[in-house]
Symmetry: C2
Subunit: 189 residues, 2 copies
């Protein structure tokens, strides 16, 4: 993978997100709100699916009295950017050396393959070693298909994923890299 | 709006969905499953958002003990079809003469405008008079912007929306009309 010079440089800025007490979901929500307010993109987190077991009524309003959290069979975030379909998920790992693939459910991997085949843009945002990386879906699938490993070495992520930057007002700048992987400009091969 | 002849003809097939006891959400889910299984499109219903009030643990598993249903600020269904972003909502009305616009929340109307502006395909599937119609987002917005009416007359829907057909195995054939509004082929102006 060839990075343009200006992106390579960003690898040297060592931003330690953990020190700022930032949570991956929060900073993505912050970015999505920024993109929405600036009319740059429409990207939303899907609600967590639940299985409702018991419902009652209070003042004519439905109240859920028993329910369980269910697993999303797609990815958590999707939306529209420059006319293109975007979908991604946020995954954290405590491991410093590799990203365990069991962080991604098999039906999510199948879904990632589907999105690629149907012409959408799909990726993961991985929180690891106090950094956030954008790993493009096709790179993830190539990794899975080309070897039997149960985790992605950190070196692979450093080499193949984009290091994201956090800005206090804008959240995390992931669409900058979607511009590259989505072929919206000619900065990359 | 000019319809090609083969679509006009479909208006004469009077399919009474109510007699078959069909529910709009079910037949859309059935269609989405058909599209998924045939690898035609990836379209999912978003989970209903809930506001969780109380959570406990049973055998190390989270149980929701109190929660409320919340309102979706976007539309209920979205996904990917032929590389394009698709979003829509299903709305039923009991009225035989007009579709009340208060069926659509103001934030949903704003969202429909957003999706159009960002190049996505957005529409409503309206269940009315035992029929199902696909009303394209720009036609809906034009109606709202060009007059002060609080409901869309049935005549407007009959004239401007596409009458959908139900097939026992395939659910409702809405993507046939998305092909037309999305400019995927040249069958329509």
């Amino acid at each position: 993978m060839n990075y343009p010079n200006k992106i390579k440089k960003e690898y040297h800025r060592n931003i330690n997100y953990a020190n700022r007490g930032m949570d991956l979901e929060n900073i993505i929500n912050e970015a999505n709100l920024y993109y929405l307010e600036k009319d740059i993109a429409l990207i939303y987190k899907k609600p967590t699916p639940i299985g409702v077991v018991k419902v009652s009524y209070e003042n004519n309003k439905q109240v859920i009295n028993k329910a369980y959290f269910a697993t999303q069979s797609t990815l958590d975030y999707n939306g529209l950017y420059k006319g293109k379909y975007i979908e991604f998920d946020a995954k954290n790992t405590e491991s410093k050396t590799s990203f365990p693939l069991n962080n991604i459910h098999p039906h999510q991997i199948k879904h990632i393959r589907n999105v690629i085949r149907h012409g959408g843009i799909v990726f993961l945002i991985i929180g690891m070693n106090n950094m956030f990386y954008l790993l493009n879906g096709p790179d993830l699938i190539n990794f899975i298909d080309s070897n039997q490993r149960k985790s992605i070495p950190y070196e692979f992520i450093q080499k193949n994923a984009y290091l994201l930057e956090y800005n206090y007002n804008k959240g995390i700048n992931y669409l900058t890299y979607v511009d590259l992987i989505g072929g919206f400009n000619n900065e990359r091969k």
